[in-house]
């Protein structure tokens, strides 16, 4: 959920943009992190872990912990918590290690 009123902070949000998550259309704000947009929309599971396929969600928020590795525009292992949202992005839950892009 988004914090609409805060006693100390004013959130400068980018313009509203649409993107897809696992094929579903979601609205977020341009420039915010992909995870912020997803969590705001109530999406908590971002990936399934590499061996046991356990659900993983937002965790470290600084691109270190691997919990938010997602498939974005066909590219695996994108750190969604530090990647800014762009209009029309195709974001998908990553299951396991993901595909290695062919060179």
């Amino acid at each position: 959920m988004r914090i609409e009123k805060h006693p100390i902070l004013d959130f400068a949000r980018g313009k509203k943009v649409k993107f897809t998550f696992d094929g579903r259309e979601i609205t977020g704000h341009e420039g915010e992190t992909i995870t912020a947009a997803l969590v705001a929309a109530g999406v908590l599971t971002l990936s399934k872990s590499i061996k046991l396929e356990r659900p993983r969600g937002f965790f470290c928020g600084i691109g270190r912990c691997s919990s938010c590795y997602m498939v974005v525009n066909g590219v695996s292992n994108v750190r969604a918590c530090v990647t800014p949202l762009e209009k029309g992005m195709d974001v998908n839950t990553q299951v396991g290690r993901g595909e290695i892009a062919s060179c």
Partner: protein
């Protein structure tokens, strides 16, 4: 190759201050920061800092971050954001990764100010979505303005746990409880008082034993623990929550320090392995300095002063001591001494004494001060029971009725005779620990003025309840006045409400709807194993099996199970695995070797190295700050 005189790795409070002091001496200064802006943890600190004016007392962390970043910019510091330092090499060069671009920087001196990482607490299903580190949650909440749920359990009553609990409530969330494994609150009592009077219970000697839910946290089970931190059977209870927030300590981030070859030592008072450094912040390698949490966990105020010392010494090396900075250095040393006095500076004093080979200072006993309660008139009640280094109440007082004295950790003293009851101290106290009590409001009523930083604020005429210091509704209350003292703080409100005269010394918070405590729900059995390494999906059982097969060190287990080889490079699991090893080997973590650290600090595709190129050299002379401000 990019050349610079002083390279600072990490653009948080320590790094920015190091850059400022180095740049002031006129040396070419570069900061490498892996986030998109300078500021480090300051970018999400909505609370006002303690200390004196020198330490930005009374200023909110976010504003300190912007101010320091501005100073860096004004001093033409080359700030390379979105850039990660991947290694420090034997020829003195430093590898940096920016996006898909790899390049080398060749500095004359390096200051490592990489900060800290959050400790993890292992329990069944601790990897479920809904278990968050306090720092991560704070980023989501205060930078992005997004909350991942409505109800929270906070684990840890140190300053971070207490502050983030309050910030969760500022953001509109509900904190069901705070659990703390120790038998006392570790953070400042004023931070605990803020959440307690809003009705958040703090369970001491309790911890979270497991969480459960369908694909995400839905319930958390809490248990009492005994003297050896083992759950007491039969004491567990379960609450319904959306999230569990872990604030169970920080560890110094010393990957680069260890990889560069600086000598490290385990110092418990510094919260882990740290670089051996002298009081000039120089490590065992002459060209490398350290500052801030990477040199031992402390408050940001101390990190900033350490940064200044490290930056100045690094720059003096480059100028071969041409500038006379002795007076400045003495000033920084005395500021650090000031911040490290009192009960909360004790750990840092002891940790640094060990590092510097000084005789350990004796453990001092500190007594808590009772609140100063004036008996008549409209006067402040100062509920500041501990010797914390802080003086904004005295600085804000127009009649000089509040005094602290020379030692900043002294308790404030109120001269009731000269105090005019203006309430500036209520607006100024960073701990929100000063209240204005007017016993002469009417024959039967007293008026209480409280500091207010919550949404939505009440309005004049609102009727509700006064809560006491433990969050219990004790009497009806009516709001009489809402105001701000803008010259002191633009955001904080002062809310005045009336209560029956005999409740004047108890009423400390106002609510419209009486708070209800958390309901206890059915406890479900815990999952039978615990994820220790999130990146590689390695469980506690696997690690124990591995240990029992003869793998007795972190590096051995790492080679066998890949723990520490994933994207986080052991930041989550190393401490946990060393803990398991220490327990099984019946020794202490200080006796165990941490993992061998090698470059790169974060997984990097080989293609990126292969295509590394020179980057545009920085024109230190003709640089102009970008037009869009900082």
């Amino acid at each position: 190759m990019l050349e610079t005189d002083v390279l600072i790795i990490g653009g948080g409070p320590a790094g920015m201050c190091a850059a400022i002091e180095a740049a002031k001496l006129g040396v070419k200064t570069t900061v490498v920061e892996d986030k998109d802006r300078l500021g480090g943890q300051l970018v999400k600190q909505t609370h006002q800092f303690f200390g004196s004016e020198k330490h930005h007392a009374g200023v909110r962390g976010i504003d300190i971050g912007v101010k320091l970043a501005g100073e860096c910019s004004d001093l033409k510091v080359n700030a390379l954001t979105n850039t990660t330092c991947t290694g420090i090499f034997d020829d003195g060069s430093v590898g940096c990764l920016r996006g898909e671009e790899f390049f080398l920087i060749h500095p004359k001196r390096i200051v490592i100010a990489t900060g800290a990482y959050e400790n993890m607490l292992p329990f069944p299903d601790c990897d479920l979505p809904g278990v968050y580190g306090a720092g991560g949650l704070q980023t989501l909440m205060n930078v992005d303005g997004v909350l991942p749920g409505k109800t929270y359990l906070m684990v840890g009553a140190g300053n971070i746990g207490l502050i983030v609990s309050y910030q969760l409530m500022q953001a509109g969330a509900e904190v069901v409880a705070i659990v703390e494994a120790l038998d006392r609150v570790g953070g400042y009592e004023v931070h605990a008082a803020k959440v307690k009077r809003m009705g958040v219970p703090i369970f001491l000697r309790h911890t979270v034993t497991h969480v459960s839910g369908d694909g995400k946290v839905e319930r958390a089970t809490i248990s009492k623990i005994d003297g050896s931190f083992k759950p007491v059977p039969g004491s567990e209870f379960t609450v319904s929550v959306d999230a569990v927030c872990l604030a169970v300590g920080l560890s110094p981030l010393i990957e680069l320090i260890a990889q560069a070859g600086c000598e490290t030592r385990y110092i418990p008072e510094c919260a882990g392995h740290v670089a051996v450094h002298d009081s000039n912040m120089r490590t065992s390698l002459e060209h490398i300095f350290v500052a801030g949490d990477a040199s031992g966990i402390e408050e940001a105020s101390a990190a900033m002063v350490e940064g200044r010392i490290a930056g100045l010494h690094a720059a003096l090396d480059v100028t071969h001591g041409k500038a006379d900075s002795n007076e400045l250095l003495r000033e920084f040393d005395s500021q650090l001494d000031e911040l490290r006095t009192g009960p909360f500076g004790q750990k840092a004093r002891q940790g640094k004494s060990k590092l510097w080979g000084l005789k350990l200072p004796p453990d001092e006993e500190f007594e808590e001060a009772p609140p100063i309660i004036p008996e008549s008139g409209k006067k402040p009640v100062i509920e500041c029971p501990q010797n914390i280094p802080c003086n904004p109440c005295a600085v804000s007082c127009p009649t000089e009725s509040i005094t602290i004295g020379d030692n900043i950790t002294n308790f404030p003293v109120l001269d009731q005779g000269t105090c005019n009851g203006c309430g500036n101290c209520v607006a100024a106290c960073p701990g929100l620990a000063v209240f204005l009590v007017n016993r002469d409001y009417s024959d039967r009523e007293a008026e209480i003025t409280i500091p207010w930083e919550l949404t939505p604020p009440p309005e004049k005429g609102d009727k509700g309840y006064a809560l006491d210091r433990t969050g219990v509704a004790i009497c009806p209350a009516t709001v009489t006045k809402i105001r701000r003292v803008k010259k002191i703080d633009k955001k904080r409100l002062l809310v005045a409400f009336t209560v029956p005269l005999d409740k004047a010394d108890e009423a400390r918070h106002f609510v419209i709807v009486e708070p209800k405590g958390a309901e206890k729900i059915e406890t479900l059995p815990p999952a039978d194993d615990i994820i220790i390494c999130r990146c590689e999906d390695v469980t506690q059982k696997e690690i124990l099996d591995c240990f029992n097969s003869g793998y007795k060190s972190f590096d051995e287990i790492k080679r066998y199970l890949r723990t520490g080889m994933g994207p986080c490079q052991g930041k989550t699991c190393q401490r946990l695995i060393l803990g398991i090893l220490a327990r099984e080997l019946k020794t202490h973590v200080s006796e165990l070797a941490p993992q061998t650290v090698r470059t790169p600090m974060k997984p990097t595709e080989l293609e990126i190295y292969a295509s590394s190129k020179e980057i545009e050299p920085w024109d230190f002379e003709n640089w102009q700050p970008p037009g869009g401000g900082h």
